[in-house]
Amino acid sequence: MLATMLAVSFIVFAALEHNIEDVATHVLGQFATSDQRHSWLRENGYFDPFLVRYLRWLYGFVSGNWGVSTHFKEPVRALIADYLWQSALLAGLSLLLMVPLALALGVLAGMREGSLLDRAISILSIATTSIPQFASAVFLSVVFVFWLGLLPGASAMTSGFEWKEMVMPVMVLTLAGAGYLARMTRASMVEVMASPYIRTAQMKGASFARIVLRHALRNALVAPVTVIMLYIPWLLSNVIVVEAYFGYRGFGTLIYTASLQHDVYLIEAGTMVAVIAVVGTQLLSDLANVWLNPRVDFATPVSTKATL
């Protein structure tokens, strides 16, 4: 895992700083003369060998010295902390809404495979997962902002935090993510309901509600719960579109702006933070799987089985 992180950091650094002329242009702006660029490069040690520069940068990153953003003119670390917090709020709220909703729908659909309720929920979840976020953002905006006029169409939070502005982005993310989790839960529930111990419970005359609640639920939820962890990388990817659409000032907007402005240091640190989050959640998800399911084999981590 540490090796993966090192490889990632090397790729990121090589992609963004292999051409030092480009770095100087991005940092000093297009109108700097080549002499200015040259002296800036010399002052900042850019004429050292590539490996030396990489190790210096890596040391800087590990020790928390992430440089200054050329676009925002602020220290990168403060920027990322600030924007990441905004995204965490957005992602946290959607997870809080999405998880109970998806688990409930999945269990309802999976407890009687092939029933009318199962069909309806399955169709609904396929349909919602098929709609890309920018499209559902558009649809919801048209309904709630354009027709009903209930909610604001942008979430820039220019005049302080506003709950009303959170509703639309949270709704879009929840809609997009709930379908997949519901389908996972349904599949897991169907499998459990077909297992011999459920038949035993039925033959003993236990009521349907008791079978579902007491016997099936616990085992059916192992797989979905371990997958929830993998939603964090998924959210990191998907907040970009949603945040860009609603103008929400979060991590996604930050990375997007940084890329468009070629803000080298901000992209480097931002990507590294994103990767750390992904690798960290994969580890947590593996641990959760081991903890919830004692039969698990340690050789194949869940993160390799389920890919969102």
């Binding site: 993966t4 349909a127 890309p132 499209a135 649809f139 905006s141 990191l236 659409y245 890329s259 994103a274």
Partner: protein
């Protein structure tokens, strides 16, 4: 083919295939179906159903630059299907090849390739796409590269797992004992036995790629204008969405329908493949 026939016993899969077929038809015959030239300025900001100067109708209205939205949608189908097919094919070629090699030879080959795949998979995909496209510029080729880096590792993992399973079968051992070359064993014995699950994934991934192209277009990182493409059409109309929602709604409906069709089809294929294994 037998798989497709088996899949089509489910009505959902038939619906999926029908949706995909309609899009395919539209993209193939775009010049005959489209009422107007998708790049020509006719009359700006007409609402859906407005009559055109030549006596026809703008069934879906026109955009800011006065181009017929229906015609742009029809030609956009072409762009989306063409580029998602190319990008998905590239990702599959790379992923299946690497997965075949890693699953067959195992050992060091597998360790190296799995490490590479894991490294690529630790980037959140959208971050990977945005960085690739912004540093190399927005073009069709770069979309193919970005999607390749994003999807190939996933395809690799699926293929590798399937190959590892098939490799332990007796018929593979028999072929190796007969003295057949590695290449022959991989292509004749293993590959045909792993294609079924891969085809179901291919359908789904085609949809994901179409969405990716849509998203990139929407973020202004897609194919350069004036190529008609659903994502960038939605982006262009976004600023005016409150007053003229018709400019954004139709491209969004189109991409959602395409994805729905592909996921229904993929579901049907996967179920059919499961049934085939059982029987």
């Amino acid at each position: 083919m037998r798989l497709l026939a088996a899949a089509l016993r489910s009505p959902a899969a038939v619906l999926g295939l029908a949706i995909v077929a309609v899009f395919l038809f539209v993209s193939l015959f775009a010049p005959f179906i489209a009422p107007y030239d998708p790049l020509k300025t006719i009359a700006p900001l007409q609402l859906p159903g407005a009559s055109a100067p030549d006596g026809g109708h703008f069934w879906l209205g026109t955009d800011l630059l006065g181009r017929d939205i229906l015609s742009r949608m029809i030609y956009g189908t072409r762009t989306v299907l063409l580029w998602s097919t190319i990008a998905t094919a590239a990702a599959f070629a790379a992923g299946v090849l690497a997965g075949l090699l890693a699953g067959y030879f195992q050992g060091v080959t597998d360790t190296v390739m799995s490490f590479l795949a894991n490294t690529l998979l630790s980037f959140p995909v959208m971050v990977l796409y945005i960085i690739i496209i912004t540093s190399f510029g927005a073009s069709g080729t770069n979309i193919v590269v970005a999607v390749g880096f994003g999807s190939a590792p996933v395809v690799f993992r699926i293929t590798r797992a399937l190959v590892m399973d098939v490799r332990e079968r007796d018929y593979v051992a028999a072929a190796i004992t007969q003295g057949e070359s590695h290449l022959a064993v991989m292509l004749r014995e293993i590959l045909p036995n792993v294609t079924t699950p891969l085809i179901a994934d291919l359908c789904l991934r085609l949809g994901y790629t179409a969405i990716t192209i849509g998203v990139l277009g929407f973020l202004g990182l897609g194919l350069p204008p004036p190529t008609p493409d659903w994502g960038s059409m939605a982006a262009e109309g976004k600023a005016m969405a409150i007053a003229f929602p018709h400019m954004v709604i139709f491209p969004c409906v189109a991409i959602s329908l395409l994805m729905l069709g592909l996921s229904l089809l993929s579901d049907g294929l996967r179920e059919a493949a499961k049934r085939q294994v059982r029987t």
